[in-house]
Structures are given as structure tokens and as C-alpha cells.
């Protein structure tokens, strides 16, 4: 039997999958849902793990009064315990035409699958949305939880095909029409959009979702090898742009690319989120085990 036949998913091999299963997401603000889950809530909970004390208030359950402290201080204090609640993980994968260059879409699907698996293994609610069509209902995987959901998630991502020209901001607004729940919105895209991303990021933030932006750019976008007079054609809109003496403009291009990344990073951070830009030439292992771990996105 070949290795391909025994692989659980075509997105990565089994050893990588087993490593992913032992990892978990690390949200910054612990925005969780009321539903019980395995994600520790910042609020007082009913688990056995002690969290903090607070002053007694009228109406509090007397069972949680710490009588030892009351005996010493003659003042009632309520014991608080950590609450394990369910966190919503929203995976948004940009599958527009611009992502069909140089394995960008494959890496996006692998990253989405990896983070989705991490969420499902930790009893989070995971939903997935594909950004590729401007019309009608988005290509989506409804929120679900449990390890049995992993197969559906992987199938959804494996079947996701590139194409389309929906911009990121429009896709986010469309997604929010169908989404309910707090947690983390992981946007995997090249973020090459003429639109303003501040508004959809605000909508995500106000919906109780941390904004995690993972930008995937191809090597041709990071270090374009162009010279002379050229006519660029946009893969999504087929619009053209004439460039004269492109090699002379590369320094400006790099400045613009870095400015875009800094802008995205700033927008994510100001909304209690994260941003990371990676190259499509990197392997998913490198992205997961080096960059995301080092940046604190995930925990092994």
C-alpha cells in the first residue's frame, strides 16, 4: 500500500497531522462562547482549577464563599474557579484567482486545515469560509465541534478550488452575515486588495472575533524579477497597468510591500489580533512549527 493511500488527508502527511493534533491555538483575549468547552474562560467558572477571589455580593452562591478566610478576616470572599468555555474559530481562506499563483492556495488550505484541526481537537467550534465568489452564498463549512468534524473540515478544504475575484473586505462582510459566536477569525489571504480593510476588521472585532491575519505571498511577489517596459495584467480583474523600466521601480515596490505588511500588522494588533506574512515557497511544517510557534499563535 502506498503512502498516499494511507494518508489521512492530501494536505499533509500523517506525522505532521499527529504533530498538529498535539498543538492548540493561543488566542490573546480568550473571547469564548457560553457553551462549555475546553477553552479556559477569563470569567469565573466551575472547574476545579482555582482562579481568584472577589468580594461577596448579594445574590452570590454561598457555596463558593471561602469560609477559612471569613474566619480569619470576618469578611466574606467568593472563590472563583476557571471556566472552560467553547471558543469559535473562524477560518477564512482566500481562494481567489490571485491565490492560485505559486502554491499560495495550497499553503493557505494547509494552514487553515492545521489550525482547524487544532481547534476541533480542543473542542472549539470551527467554521470555514472560502473567499472566491462574489455572488450568492459563500462556500462555507458551518460551525461544528468535535473530532468527528475533522474529516468534514479536511474534505471542505481539499475540495476548495481557486478562482473568482471577491475582495477580502467583501468576503469578510459576507461571512459575518452567517456567523454567530466569539473567538478567533483567522484570515488566510494575500491581502492584495484595493479596498479598505479597516472596516471589515472593525466588524470582526465588534463581533467578538480576534483578527488573525496570515498573509501568503509568492516569491514572485516578494522579490519580483522584472525589467524593462511591461504591461501587467491583473489575474482577477484582467485590468492592465503599463510599467516602464520596471527594474528601476523595484525599490519603490519593496517599500510599498513592506508598508502594506506594516499596515496590516498595525490593524490586526490594534484589534487585539496578530499578523504574519509568509512565503508560499515555505513548507507547512516551517510555517507551523517555526513561524507560528515562535510568534505565539499556537502552542505545542
Amino acid at each position: 500500500m502506498t503512502e498516499t493511500a494511507t494518508r489521512f488527508t492530501s494536505l499533509f502527511d500523517n506525522s505532521t497531522l499527529s504533530q498538529i493534533e498535539r498543538m492548540r491555538l493561543r488566542p490573546l483575549r480568550r473571547l469564548t462562547n457560553r457553551a462549555r468547552g475546553e477553552h479556559l474562560s477569563g470569567k469565573g467558572g466551575s472547574s476545579t482549577d482555582f482562579a481568584d477571589f472577589r468580594d461577596y455580593a448579594v445574590g452570590d452562591d454561598l457555596r463558593y464563599v471561602d469560609w477559612n478566610i471569613f474566619a480569619r478576616l470576618r469578611r466574606p470572599y467568593i472563590k472563583q474557579f476557571q471556566h472552560e468555555e467553547e471558543m469559535h474559530v473562524v477560518l477564512m481562506v482566500d481562494a481567489s484567482t490571485s491565490m492560485m499563483f505559486d502554491n499560495k492556495l495550497l499553503l493557505a488550505k494547509q494552514a487553515a486545515a492545521a489550525m482547524g484541526i487544532m481547534g476541533l481537537h480542543n473542542v472549539e467550534r470551527v467554521s470555514a469560509y472560502a473567499m472566491h465568489s462574489q455572488d450568492g452564498k459563500p462556500w462555507m463549512l458551518p460551525p461544528g465541534t468535535g473530532r468527528t468534524r475533522i474529516r468534514q473540515l479536511l474534505q471542505f478544504l481539499e475540495q476548495l478550488e481557486g478562482g473568482g475575484n471577491i475582495p477580502v473586505e467583501r468576503a469578510i462582510e459576507t461571512m459575518l452575515r452567517f456567523h454567530r459566536g466569539r473567538g478567533v477569525a483567522i484570515l488566510i489571504s494575500d491581502f492584495l486588495s484595493f479596498g479598505d480593510l479597516a472596516r471589515p476588521f472593525n466588524l470582526l472585532f465588534s463581533s467578538g472575533l480576534e483578527v488573525w491575519g496570515l498573509q501568503i505571498l509568492s516569491d514572485a511577489e516578494i522579490n519580483p524579477n522584472v525589467q524593462g517596459d511591461l504591461r501587467f495584467i491583473d489575474s482577477e480583474t484582467q485590468e492592465t497597468l503599463d510599467i516602464t523600466n520596471a527594474s528601476e521601480l523595484l525599490s519603490v515596490y519593496h517599500d510599498q510591500r513592506l508598508w502594506l505588511q506594516q499596515n496590516l500588522d498595525s490593524m490586526c494588533r490594534s484589534r487585539q489580533g496578530r499578523f504574519l506574512s509568509v512565503s508560499s515557497s515555505m513548507s507547512i511544517q516551517t510555517v507551523l512549527f517555526e513561524h507560528l510557534c515562535r510568534q505565539g499563535w499556537v502552542q505545542r
Partner: protein
Amino acid sequence: MNLLKFVNLYGAWFFLALIPLIILYFLKLRRPKMEVPSLVLWQSVVNDQRVNSPFQKFRRNLLLLLQIILLCLVILALMQPFLKSEAAVSEYVPILIDCSASMSSVDEATGKSRLDLIRDQVREQIENLTGNQQISLFSFAATGRRLTEFTNDRRALLKALEKVQPTDLPAQLDDVLRMAAAYTRSFPIQKVTVLTDGNLPERASFELPFELEIKRVDAGGPNVGITEMTARRSGPTEWEIFLRALGSTDDLRGAELEIWENGEKTHSETIEVSLEEAERMVIPVAADKARFVEARLVPAGFDSMKTDNSVWLSLPAARPLSVWIAPKLGTWKRAASVLENVTLEEGDAEKPKGSDYDLIVADNAELESVNAAVKVFVGVVPPDLAGVIEVRDDIASVVDWNRTAPLLRHVQMADVQMGVQPAYLTGFGVKDIEDRGYEVLADGNAGPLLLQKREGLQVSWWFLFHTDKSTLPFRVGFPIIMANAVDASLRQASLSEIAAAPTGVLPGVALQADRDYVVKTPDGEQIATRSNAAGTLLGIPAAKVGKYEIMEGTAVVSAIGTGLLNGNETTLKVVEDLKVAEADVKSEELDELESDQPIWWPLAAAAFAVMLFEWWYFQRARGSVV
């Protein structure tokens, strides 16, 4: 102030070609297409302020900009712009180039001759010719020569210029100025430019109809040369050669003087000469046989001019003078008999026995046909003057005489009385005599008394009165006249004194009458010529220093050597103020000939450079597209 002018202003219409160029550029501009994921970043680049700065905008259309520059440069070159010089530039410019011997003198440092320097300047002026200017080139040395008509054909001018070579002749301005002046009738010539080293005669007798501009280059390096060479009989069997050598500098410069006789060195001595101190030498040479003597100067150090280092002299063998005197002219015979080196034919024959004589003294016009270098007729009216002059039986006296004539030198004729009276016939005068080739040497109270006629190298003197019928034989002047006649005969026969021939024209050579000869020049050229009826070869040009061989068939019948023999040329003397007629013309140092400076070629060169850059840029841009 230099002003930019255009020869072909109508060429500006070609600037209209910029319109189709720009249209075609945008129509034909094809860029390689390249699909990119998104234009977001590139659009940001295009919108960047740095990219949209005016300079960057130019760079974006660099090819168009280059093509516009290229076209503008080509059109400007086509319009033939030039910077107008400060000097008023005439439309017709005669340039007179000095080709005298001193122009061959070279610099010790550069080795360039004066003519090379001038040629460089003229070449530049020819190349800078603007549309309406025309140049005519003249060269001059002893005489002038027109090299080209007025033309703006650069090729023809440059070709003529390359043919200009220094001659071995001294400089004379008169002829060439006359030639240039002749053109003023056909062309509006305002100024004539003379290019020289300044080694010119101090005076030119010429009325200038135009402004004369004399530009001179620096004189050549130090020079020594022979400026005189003559030979004089010092005895029956010996010549004395007199030589004079000069230098061009104030410092004494050494040289070795060598005398070569018939190709063998017979004498050598060291001399030192300077500009102020000439060296004069007397060298004895045996006269037992004919000799071809060359004086050769070998300078000890650098010598800027070679042509004045050698001089040739042809010395005949010594012999007595052959004289025949008519038997009835006893007084003449007695006067001749006391003179040395004279062989007087004995006998009382009415006619000479021999065929060739150096001198005859006759009393009969029929003896005019005798071949003699000098003839004296006594009491004879030339037959061709028979209708002009008659001899009357009357007393005549001398009114005036030519005291410098060779025959009458040192002769006092004031109180001489004649028993006959030569007189003009009615209606005739001195002009009728001169028209027939005679010159009056002595005038009487009614007509001429003594006539001279030259035919080639021969000279004849005609005493129209018989000396026996005058008081002349009793005067002390009579034996002097005889001695003068003998002396003239000796000179004619080259038996008393010979001077080396300077370059220019060979001296007349006495040969057989009406024969064809070929003259072989020092540079190997052969000149066919023919002797005249008197047996004289005349008018052979001798522009080069050296030996000229006169050949009849293949046999060399005579040889004559020439030398520069011009102190002015040898000393390389620079004349700063040239007197032309009454006007002074200052010569100026030649830095650069003032002329309009055409600037079409830098524009054309710039256009070519732009074209190359555009080609390189275009190829580079095409080759690098991924």
C-alpha cells in the same frame, strides 16, 4: 562675441517630424504582457510620489525622450549651425601659402616643418568652411602659383593643400599679390591672408587693393648654410673659390666645410658661424681642367634646413681668350696686344679664319654672322637701323653716356670729338632704336654714338662713328674700352669670374644652335628643351638645389649646379613690418586662423552617441524581460 548662426535655416521645418514621431511612438509601443496575481502593489508603485516626480516621468518614457533628442540633434546638424567668429569673415578668402625654402626648416623638438604647421591650420579652416564661403589657395616662393579656384569643395581644397611642398627658392610676395589682385575684378575680395614663417623680403612694390593679413608661425630651429659661392681666376692655372657661410642664431655654431671636385673630396675645414659673424673662405682650385665643384656644409649639431648646405659650381678649364680684330683697326689691335690671356689672331685677312671666337672687333657689318660671344663693330651702322640713322659729315661730340655699362666702365668720354656725326633721320628717334633691340650707351648732339645689342648670351657693341675719325684713341679711356671688352668676353666665356647659380632659373648655357636637349633635374625629372638660334639654352626652371645635367640624347653635354644662396632664407630672419608700397603691414603670430566654427559635427556625434545609447538601452530592456 560668438553668435550661433545657421547655414540652412530652412532645415528647421524638419522639427515638424517630431509630431509623427510622438504619434508613432505611442501607436507602436508594444510592451511584453505579464500576468500578476494582483496589481495592488504595482498600482501603489505607480501612484508613489517618487515615481511621479518630473524626472521619473521622463524616465518612464526614456525611449521617446531619446528619440526626440536624437531627431532634434540630427535636425540641428542638418541646419549646419556655426559660431560666427569675431573677425569679419569674407565670402571669398584667398590664402597665400609661403613655400619658400625657409618653410622647410624644422623644429628641433617636434621635427615639424613650418609648412606642416601652416598646412594644419589651413586644413582646419577648410574643414570649418561654412556654406557661402569659398577659398582659393595660392602658393608662393620666388613666384606665385594658384592652386585652386575659389571653391567650397573641401576635397579639392584638401587635395591641393596636400600637394603644397616647400621649394628651394627664396620668398617673393609681389607676384602672388598681383595674382590675388587680379581676382578682385571677378570676386569681392576684402582680405587676403598670407601664411608664412615671416621670412619675407622687407618690401614689396605693390599697391594693395585689399586688406593684407600676414599670419606667421614661429621660425624653425637653428640653421647654418652657405650663402655665397663664386670663383675668380687668380692666375693662368688657378681659380679661387670664395665662400660665405652664415648662421641663424646669435650663438656660434660649428660645421665642417667640405669641397668636392668631380666627386672627390679635396678640402675640408671646420668653421664657426653665427647670425652676426659670417665665415668667409677662399679655397684655391686648379684650373688645368674643367671641374664640377661642390661645397658641402656638414653642421656639427642640429640644422633646421638642409637645402642651403650644398652649392655647386661648374668651373671650365683655363684657356686664353680667342680674339680677332679687323686689320684696318690698328688702334684696337695695339690696345689688345698688351692685355694678358689674349690670343690675337695673326694676319691681315679681312675675315676671321676660325669659326668660334670670344671677341671680334670688326669694321664691317657682314661679320655679324661670325660666332663670337662679344662683337665690337667700329664705324658701322647696324643694317636694321639703316633707315633710322645716317652718318653725316659733321662734327659731333658726346653729350652723355652710360657710365655703368660694362663697356664704358671707368671711361671718361666728356671731351671726345668725332669727325662724323651719326644722326637720326627725320621722324625717327630713340624709340625706333629700342624697338629693334638696341640700347643707346652714348648719345651725341644729333643722334646715338654707341649702341648695345644682346642676343641670348651674345652681346654686340656698335660704334656708329669710326674711332679713327675721333679723338677717342688718344684718350686714356680707349685702352680701358678694349680692356672692358676683353673682360666682358672673359666673363661670357666664364674664364674670369663665375658665380654659383641660385635656384629659380638656370643661367643660359651656350650650346649648339637649334638642337634638342633634355635637362635632368636633381629629383630625376627630365625637361625637354631646345636651344635658340644663338645656341643658348634659356629659361630652364630650377626649383631644386642640386646638379642639373644637360643631355643631348644620352650624352651629358653640360652640367650646372644650383644652391639656395640666399642669406635671408638661411638666417630665417623674421620680418615683422612688411612695407607694401607705402603702407606697413604687421605680421602677426599665427595661433589659429579665425574662421566660423561649424558645430554640426559635434551635434552629429552626439546624435550618434544617443543612437548607440538608445540601441543599448532598448536591447538591454528587451533581453531582460522574464
